[in-house]
């Protein structure tokens, strides 16, 4: 019977929605216990959020001043130690999980399955390779601990329906001081979070400048959508890096994705393939984005967008 430890992602006050999606993945692995480990300084606010997720049977909190910022080198030895009684260790395939979990796997001496997109058996999973152009089914040895990151776009969030117990733990392991947090420049935004939003409006190179990119924000606000961007738009400095959607940015699965002035390179399409409905607006009728769009509109975005915004008023 599987006993699963999920490393929960949080910012000290809010549980990251990616954790609830990991819980759904864990539930599909079947079996017994699903525990969520939370590492931080003060976890009083976050722990109840994890305990409420349907399927979670226990929340383990590890409060330690050294855990103030999620440094992989500091967290990994603690997670590796906590992992001892479990058959599976999961974390979301966000930059948090991608940074941390391979370090944990190496400490445990086991391979990692990255970006699980479906569960085919307790040790058998599908994952994307080649920017999503080749889907590989891999089987890990059942006699070893299974370490995997979960592609959050592939799983729905577990609902709030549980009441798991919360247990404080201390992990007795030496922590390194060779890695130190300096600062974070996080975009403060009232807009929905890109990774978990129901609707996303994304802009590409055709926006032409940081100033022009503002019309993407404006339309997104009108629709109550999160804002995304293509790699080209981020490289050109029209939008900040955390908005990048695609193979090397965020993989998302909103109900509605509106791609504006994005030609649709394979690497970008990888990031949006799981969206329920895709709308593409582009002046080039040959743009590859139209190959996968549910609704395509050819024309000048600077004419179309104001009109679209007005008709949504």
């Amino acid at each position: 019977m599987a006993t699963i430890l999920i490393v929960g992602e949080h910012d000290g006050s809010k549980l990251n929605p990616s954790t609830a999606r990991c819980v759904t993945c864990a539930s599909q692995i079947a079996g017994g216990e699903i525990h969520v480990a939370l590492l931080g300084t003060d976890l009083g606010g976050v722990a109840p959020q994890a305990a409420a997720l349907k399927g979670v049977t226990k929340v383990i909190t590890v409060a330690n001043a050294a855990n103030a910022h999620p440094l992989a080198a500091v967290l990994a030895p603690q997670v590796a130690k906590l992992a001892a009684p479990y058959t599976h260790v999961l974390a979301p395939s966000t930059t948090f999980g991608k940074d941390l979990l391979p370090r944990v796997a190496a400490l445990l001496g086991v391979p990692q399955v990255s970006d699980v997109m479906s569960v085919e058996g307790p040790y058998k999973f599908k994952r994307p390779t080649y920017a999503g152009n080749a889907i590989v089914t891999v089987e890990a040895p059942a006699d070893r601990k299974l370490v995997a990151t979960v592609r959050t776009a592939s799983f729905e969030a577990a609902p709030d329906a549980g009441q798991a117990s919360v247990e404080a733990a201390t992990v007795d392991v030496a922590l390194p001081s060779h890695t130190r947090f300096v600062s974070i420049a996080a975009a403060k935004s009232d807009r929905p979070d890109l990774q978990t939003a129901n609707k996303v409006v994304s802009g590409g190179r055709a926006l032409g400048s940081k100033e022009s990119f503002q019309i993407i924000y404006s339309l997104a606000d009108r629709m109550g959508a999160a804002v995304g961007a293509s790699r080209a738009a981020v490289d050109a400095g029209y939008a900040p890096n955390e908005l990048q959607v695609g193979q090397t940015g965020k993989i998302i699965a909103p109900e509605l994705y509106v791609a504006i002035g994005i030609s649709g390179a394979i690497q970008h399409l990888t990031g949006i393939k799981d969206a329920r409905t895709i709308v593409a607006i582009n002046k080039d009728p040959e743009a590859p984005i139209f190959e996968i769009a549910d609704y395509g509109l050819v024309g000048d975005l600077f004419t179309i967008l104001p009109e679209l915004e007005k008709s949504l008023a």
Binding site: T95, D99, Y130, A131, R180, A186, T277, F290, L297
Partner: protein, 249 residues
């Protein structure tokens, strides 16, 4: 600072449209253009810039793979690496085995920095750098978009989901590169000629005491489910109408 080790992987070129073999055993690689993994090219470029600032003395490019990976190491030498090491194996090398092999090289070469791409664009695993850092028991700074060497430390800005995080790590350390760290230089013809004379050592994976062996068995490789092509609408009104019908706006 002493030495920088840069890990480069031979992968199917970025611009190749990858096709899955009909028997589900893998992707077509015969006759397909192979290149240095783009993120590893960024890793090498960063090492070159650090050396050009006088903050490193030597750059060693290392790769694990078939004999043909010498081509990618020659490219690395043409870009400016001083010497290269190929760890030869015909087998598939998973990230953990790769990290073990790099660790063996690290213990021989004693670099102050090891720089790798954040992921290889073939398996998209994004594990090797972190695993090497764990086995080496040294710091890791993944997804780097800015690197400053300050004495015995590196100050690294990382691209994370929330924005940009800056951390400080003691050297030696492992860095993995993100896209916006730099733009790799183009290789010039005279550099390609010069690279032919630079040392390229070949060693066997087994000689490092590492066994490849797949721990993750590949059961099936298949193409992704295709999205069906949708419809073209003629104007904004038709678009809004369609979205309203679906309850999306």
């Amino acid at each position: 600072m002493r030495k920088i080790m840069v890990c480069v992987k031979r992968v199917v070129d970025y611009n190749v449209r990858v096709r899955v073999k009909p028997d589900g055993s893998g992707v077509v690689t015969d006759g397909v253009k192979m290149s240095i993994n783009p993120f590893d090219e960024i890793a090498l470029e960063e090492a070159l810039r650090i050396k050009e600032r006088g903050e490193a003395a030597e750059i060693v490019a290392v790769s694990i793979g078939p004999d043909d990976a010498q081509q990618q190491l020659r490219t690395a030498l043409a870009m400016g690496a001083d010497r290269a090491i190929l760890v030869k194996t015909a087998e598939v090398v998973e990230p953990l085995a790769a990290a073990q092999a790099f660790l063996a090289l690290v213990q021989k070469e004693n670099p102050a920095l090891v720089i790798l791409g954040k992921q290889a664009i073939d398996d998209d695993a994004a594990q090797t750098g972190q695993m090497l850092a764990a086995l080496w028991d040294r710091p890791q700074a993944t997804f780097a978009s800015k690197v400053e060497i300050k004495g015995g430390t590196a100050v690294v800005t990382r691209e994370i989901d929330a924005g940009l995080e800056t951390i400080e790590v003691d050297l030696p350390a492992v860095l993995t590169t993100d896209l916006r760290l730099n733009e790799p230089r183009y290789v010039k013809l005279p550099d390609i000629m010069k690279a032919k004379k630079k040392p390229l050592d070949v060693t066997d994976l087994g000689a490092l005491g590492v066994s490849a062996g797949e721990m993750l068995k590949v059961v099936l490789v298949e193409p992704p489910k295709a999205r069906s092509k949708g419809v073209m609408v003629k104007d904004v009104a038709e678009l809004v109408d369609a979205l309203k019908k679906k309850g999306l706006v």
